[in-house]
């Protein structure tokens, strides 16, 4: 017999909602950091390519966050203090940020890679579970897979820019 603490699986609506909330926080972090990076670039560091990348990352994260929120709404789980999370993430990053130009790209890359890993593990855990969730399983997996693949594309985009600048 395998206990609940060992092994990769998601067995309840509550647990799934919690994991989706963690996804929202990760997106929030990417979003806030991208905005922050954009603001902290000095005029000679700014260029159209980087600005477009950060803008796109910010929009994509906001879109992912909304899609995760709509999944949570369908679950039988309590609401999340999302406004508070947003405020917390913003205040945490108000004083910090990467100092160099390379740091901006590297940080963006790291954020997208982390998000990719998170969604990939979550998809695996949902697939390993035979639990019936309050939302449509296919919709859940399709949404998570789409989001994961967009993170993978993001990683590729940042990597391409980094390589071109070497």
């Amino acid at each position: 017999m395998v206990g609940v603490s060992v092994g990769h699986r998601v067995s309840t609506d509550h647990q799934l909602a919690r994991l989706l909330q963690i996804g929202i926080v990760l997106e929030e972090v990417v979003e806030v950091r991208a905005a922050r990076h954009y603001d902290t670039l000095s005029p000679d560091e700014r260029d159209a390519e980087i600005e477009a990348l950060l803008e796109e990352a910010r929009e994509e994260s906001a879109d992912h966050r909304e899609r995760l929120e709509s999944l949570i709404e369908e679950l039988d789980a309590e609401a999340v203090p999302l406004d508070e999370i947003e405020a917390l993430v913003e205040s945490t990053y108000a004083q910090t940020g990467p100092e160099s130009f390379d740091g901006v790209l590297y940080d963006q890359l790291h954020g997208e890679e982390t998000a990719y890993k998170f969604y990939d593990d979550l998809i695996e855990a949902v697939e390993a579970s035979d639990a019936a969730f309050a939302l449509d399983r296919e919709r859940l997996l399709t949404t998570l897979t789409e989001i994961r693949d967009e993170e993978a594309e993001g990683v590729e985009e940042v990597t391409a820019i980094m390589e071109a600048r070497e």
């Binding site: 017999m1 395998v2 603490s5 060992v6 990769h8 919690r18 972090v29 999340v80 998170f118 593990d121």
Partner: protein
């Protein structure tokens, strides 16, 4: 966190509490698995040079095993503190246990950037209470 890391963390904490090798029974109880499962995993950890098993005494981590166990414990501590401090989850110890297998170390590191963790982490982890010492009072109030 993968299953091996969950075992390493449990062995580390049981060893800390017992001040010696961890018995199969104590590990089975802590991880809520059968003694047979524990023995099977101990064999794997031994093969990887992460643990030593002595008959009738129990299992002890090697230096490499200790290092890996401490990293796993730190990841676990981040999950507990994140659930408690950011998502304001009252039942954070049970939820952290339910989620630890799905949260990777790299993801925990990212979450770590928005929580305040003590520099002595994971040395301050309370093995008896099975939670971050900073959160013990809140956990007991549930």
């Amino acid at each position: 966190m993968n299953t091996a890391d969950q075992y390493l963390k449990a062995i580390y904490l049981v060893q800390k509490m017992e001040n010696g090798p961890a018995s199969t029974g104590a590990l089975a109880e802590r991880l809520d698995v059968s003694p047979a499962s524990v023995n099977e995993m101990i064999g794997k950890l031994q093969d990887r040079g992460l643990a030593d098993h002595e008959k009738y005494k129990g299992v002890s981590l090697t230096d490499e095993g200790i290092e890996q166990a401490r990293e796993a414990l730190q990841t676990y501590c981040i999950i507990e503190r994140f659930l408690h401090n950011v998502l304001e989850v009252e039942e954070f110890p049970s939820e952290a246990k339910a989620l630890e297998s799905v949260i990777d170390e790299t993801v925990a590191e990212r979450l770590d950037t928005i929580i305040e963790r003590e520099p002595q982490c994971p040395d301050c982890f309370d093995a008896e209470a099975d939670m971050c010492a900073e959160l013990v009072s809140e956990g007991e109030a549930d």
